[in-house]
């Protein structure tokens, strides 16, 4: 299936191109945060509460201070006066949301295991770690609230000043009477409850911070392994009271984020204030164990979804209710994560009425926040799992129930019952193609054969069709959702005197290949070589304007800013070229890097000539500024809505409970593709991350709030040995909401794959009467489900 509607004519966009990011990463030349050489820097290490909930009665640092190399120890109380405010939550989703003060170092009480209560400053990382061993904290352990339902009961209130564990209630029910009527009249009424376990994002690089002060002029440079240097600059300035113009934030090479580096963290502010206090660089590198408890976790929701349908299985209403675990405090955008899914619990199905309600509660666990997909995997999981239940109730196949309910292509742009406008879609072809790729009918026959012969190796097939909203986000929509910032993005295109090009982007990459893709876009349009385009980013001194990378926004928002900045610089070049050619600007064509007078092909000037002319400024049109540079800040008018269908085939061993993924097909539509190689790479990684939720990963807590899977030996990030080759294909349905016709693809794989796998697991076991298996579907969980259903023992 090929693209016929690309706006690109330069022959570069749309074909795979190897990444210019690779050589430094492949050779060790790239500098990640811990690679920075900072002579004279002091290292810090945090003293963290081993208890999920405990009063801090006293802290004795004397033994720590006696350790060779330890310079100082500070408690939360020592630094309390350094903060202009608590750690920020930028998404107060309701006006009465409860937001307990979240200080970088806890004072009085620790509220989760991992909450920092003191900091050791030392001359080396080893000495700092030794110092932590010497800090004696007198804790008074308190009972911990671990379960969200227990939390919601307010049996034990964690933050006394809030008076409740409920952070907020939020509802989206545009037509309550319609919803009530739909369920009243339903022929089929499906009700399902699903649990999204807590997940640890686990980028391979943990977090790290280094702060370099200049005490005499007041400048400060904050290096952080962050996805959001621009947002961080504003937030850190507000939280610490540092004048924003004196603060520079740099994200060096960042080793993955997946949402967990989309935050403002205690360690960033602690390093800043200690750099101020000591007047020398202060740095910190997170250990993996710390990364498991002190960095945000994801998912952690209980969902109930109800479907109303007529006799044919045509949906007439969807109602979803959520109980979301915020953890001990509200992080930067944590309260908004359920809202990012709130509009999508009807999936890609044409439903007249819709209701979503969410209650978010505090627990004594690590705070949660955005993790790859953020709200949309949860929504997709609920509807896609429930659609399989509906198929069973109606007595049709999982494919047929979806086909009957897909939003018809002619209905786009589609006014969704939740109040969104889906930009474009054509869903059925993705299902058809995915079925071809896994040989759906052949696999069904194989499944029947195994069942008929009494095999204990059960085959299961699972479909997940999805649509997601990404390209965060129209600023006015964010305002309507009470988000504390905008969703625009910035780009600058600067054509240098020698016709080399500098691009400055505010979309901060951390593995997504922006340098390559942005170069391709500019090169395609300007007629220059992609290698002659340099993309600058991730440093607020170089790229002062930006909203960074998350929510699959970089291309559809930042790329559109880039497209428009390119337009703007070409228009300026056109005026100069017209002046040089003594023609009118409207009579010029620009193609292949050359301006030509229409109808007079011998009258032409290359962009290089214009660029040098703009630099010398010897003969520019009257009033024109020298040089060729244009900057655009673009605020999108709508989200973009990528979609697709994934199908998983699994084999479940009835005797051991082991689940093996045996085939996987993904057919996705992200509109026009810039670099198909990068699109596929994003899908590969995203799919595996979603499969991992289904089969392997869980932050396991005990009843005391202790994390039992706090390192990579216990938390099962999949290796190559667990994974299989995926079969990918795509369709192309351009978005009409941006000039490139693009949609995001960074989260689609993760959004789609979890329900595909779990539907397959349940499909394998359904003859035993099993309708749900808790995630992750580990051998133990599967065996328990089989035994509970009265199956083989």
């Amino acid at each position: 299936m090929t693209d016929t509607m690309s706006p690109f004519a330069g022959g570069i966009v749309g074909t795979p191109r190897l990444r210019k990011e690779d050589p430094p990463l492949l050779t060790g030349e790239s500098k990640f945060i811990d690679d920075l050489q900072l002579p004279g820097a002091l290292w810090i290490s945090l003293v963290r509460s081993p208890h999920a909930h405990a009063r801090i009665d006293a802290i004795d640092a004397s033994a720590a201070l006696a350790v060779d190399g330890v310079v100082a120890v500070y408690t939360g109380a020592d630094l309390e006066g350094d903060w202009a405010g608590p750690l920020p939550c930028a998404w107060p989703v309701t006006d009465d949301m409860k937001n307990p003060a979240h200080l970088p170092l806890a004072v009085g009480k620790a509220n989760f295991a991992g909450d920092a209560v003191a900091v050791v400053v030392a001359t080396s990382r080893y000495a700092a770690a030794d110092g932590v061993e010497g800090v004696v904290v007198d804790y008074e352990p308190l009972e911990a609230v671990v379960d969200v339902r227990d939390a919601a009961s307010d049996r034990l209130v964690i933050h006394e000043d809030c008076g409740t564990n409920v952070a907020y209630d939020w509802e989206l029910t545009p037509d309550p009477d319609g919803v009530a009527a739909a369920f009243q009249d339903a022929v089929h009424h499906v009700t399902e409850t699903y649990v999204h376990q807590r997940l640890i994002p686990a980028p391979m690089e943990t977090r790290g911070v280094a702060v370099v002060p200049a005490p005499h002029n007041g400048d400060m440079t904050l290096y952080s392994s962050t996805q959001i240097p621009h947002v961080l600059k504003v937030m850190a300035s507000l939280t610490l009271g540092v004048p924003e113009q004196k603060l520079r934030v740099v994200a060096p090479s960042v080793g993955g984020g997946f949402g967990c580096k989309l935050n403002v963290y205690a360690e960033e502010l602690v390093c800043m204030t200690l750099a101020n206090r000591h007047g020398v660089p202060v740095r910190w590198t997170e250990t993996r164990t710390e990364a498991s408890t002190a960095t945000i976790q994801g998912r952690a929701q209980r969902q109930t979804i109800e479907l109303a349908a007529d006799a044919d299985g045509k949906l007439t209403g969807v109602r979803a209710t959520l109980l979301a675990d915020m953890g001990a405090y509200l992080q930067l955008v944590g309260p908004g994560v359920p809202l990012l899914g709130a509009f999508l619990y009807h999936g890609l199905y044409d439903v007249p009425v819709y209701s979503f309600t969410c209650r978010s509660v505090f627990t004594n666990l690590t705070p949660t926040d955005a993790y790859r997909g953020a709200g949309r995997p949860e929504a997709t999981y609920a509807i896609e799992r429930a659609m399989d239940s509906l198929a069973v109730a109606v007595g049709v196949g999982q494919d047929e129930i979806r086909s009957r309910n897909f939003i018809p292509t002619e209905k786009f742009p589609y006014d969704s019952p939740a109040g969104l406008i889906f930009d474009s879609g054509n869903y059925q072809p993705t299902l058809d193609r995915a079925k071809e790729l896994v040989d759906w009918d052949g696999r069904r026959a194989e499944q029947a054969e195994r069942r008929a012969t009494g095999s204990t190796m059960h085959l299961g097939l699972g479909i997940s069709s999805y649509v997601e909203m990404c390209g965060l986000a129209p600023s006015r929509t964010l305002a309507a959702l009470n988000y504390g910032a905008g969703g625009w993005e910035s780009a600058t295109v600067r054509i240098l005197p020698t016709c080399k090009v500098q691009v400055v982007t505010g979309a901060t990459p951390h593995g997504q290949g922006h340098e390559t893709s942005w170069s391709m876009i500019v090169a395609d349009r300007l007629g220059v070589d992609p290698d002659d385009v340099e993309v600058l980013h991730s440093d607020t001194a170089i790229s002062p304007l930006g909203m960074d990378t998350y929510g699959s926004r970089s291309l559809s928002v930042g790329g559109t800013a880039l497209w428009m900045a390119t337009d703007k610089v070409v228009e300026k070049a056109r005026a100069i070229a017209a002046h040089m050619l003594e023609a009118s600007a409207e009579d010029l064509e620009f193609a292949g890097g050359t301006f030509t007078v229409k109808g007079s092909p011998d009258k032409e000037v290359p962009l290089a000539g214009v660029a040098f002319g703009a630099f010398t400024a010897h003969d520019l049109p009257d009033g024109m500024e020298p040089n060729l540079e244009a900057q655009v800040t673009w605020d999108p008018g709508n989200f973009v809505f990528p979609f697709g269908t994934h199908i998983a085939v699994v084999e479940v061993d009835e005797e051991t409970g082991a689940v093996e993924l045996v085939d996987y097909a993904a057919v996705d539509d992200c509109g026009n593709q810039i670099n198909p190689m990068i699109v596929e790479g994003q899908l590969h990684g995203g799919i595996v991350q979603g499969v991992a939720q289904a089969l392997w990963e869980e932050a396991i807590y005990d009843a005391d709030g202790q994390l039992r899977s706090a390192n990579l030996a216990d938390y099962l990030v999949p290796s190559a040995a667990e994974c299989i080759d995926m079969k990918l294909d795509h369709t192309v349905t351009p978005s009409p909401t941006n000039p490139m016709g693009v949609k995001g693809i960074g989260e689609a794989g993760t959004i789609a794959s979890t329900p595909a796998v779990m539907n397959a697991v349940v499909d394998a076991l359904r003859p035993m009467g099993i309708t749900d298996v808790r995630m992750p579907a580990s051998p133990m969980t599967v065996r328990r489900a089989i035994e509970a259903a009265g199956g083989a023992s």
Binding site: L18, R19, E21, D22, P23, L25, L26, T27, G28, E29, S30, K31, F32, D34, D35, Q37, Y126, A202, P203, M204, E205, T206, S253, V254, G255, G256, F258, T287, R288, T289, H510, G511, Q512, G513, M677, I678, E680, G681, Q682, H684, G685, G686, I687, V688, Q689, N711, L712, A713, V717, S719, A720, A721, C723, D725, M726
Partner: protein
């Protein structure tokens, strides 16, 4: 204590605490920061280097244990003529995204290809089980290692 190692063909030595891990010796004492650290439990393989030609997790060895040995880090693979074939294969197969696991993954793959003839996809998958990548889903890594093994 004084630890002397031949690193990437050059004799290096430094005075370190006896408890110094090899990876910290390489990174902090020799300034070879291409070798990364991704965990506390020898699980992720980001720190993989070659010790006397065989892959080893440098977070799991003390610097003192390799005194007198030959160590190759990611900085020692490419030559003036260009990338090592394994690095080139990773580039051509889009086998890296954020690139943090990449130095360790490449070193492990170099050792794997050196140790086994006739590697197939399943062999590569099992052989790289000790190296985690969160970005790529491994599909292109497997492709790259097979390409480089030919």
């Amino acid at each position: 204590m004084e630890v002397s190692v031949t690193v990437n063909g050059t004799g290096r030595s430094a005075d370190v605490e006896p408890r110094t891990l090899l990876v910290h010796y390489l990174r902090d004492d020799l300034g070879l920061t291409g070798t990364n650290i991704g965990c506390d439990t020898s699980s992720c393989g980001a720190c993989t280097v070659l010790v006397d030609g065989r892959s080893a997790k440098s977070c799991t060895l003390l610097a003192a244990q390799v005194d007198g040995a030959e160590v190759t880090t990611i900085e020692g693979l490419a030559t003036a003529d260009g990338l090592h074939p394994m690095q080139q294969a990773f580039h051509e197969c889009h086998a890296l995204q954020c690139g943090y696991c990449t130095p360790g993954m490449v070193m492990a793959a170099v050792s794997l290809v050196d140790e086994y003839d006739d590697l197939d996809a399943a062999g590569v998958r099992v052989g790289l089980e000790g190296n985690l990548c969160r970005c790529t889903g491994y599909q292109n890594i497997v492709r790259a290692v097979l390409a480089a093994s030919e």
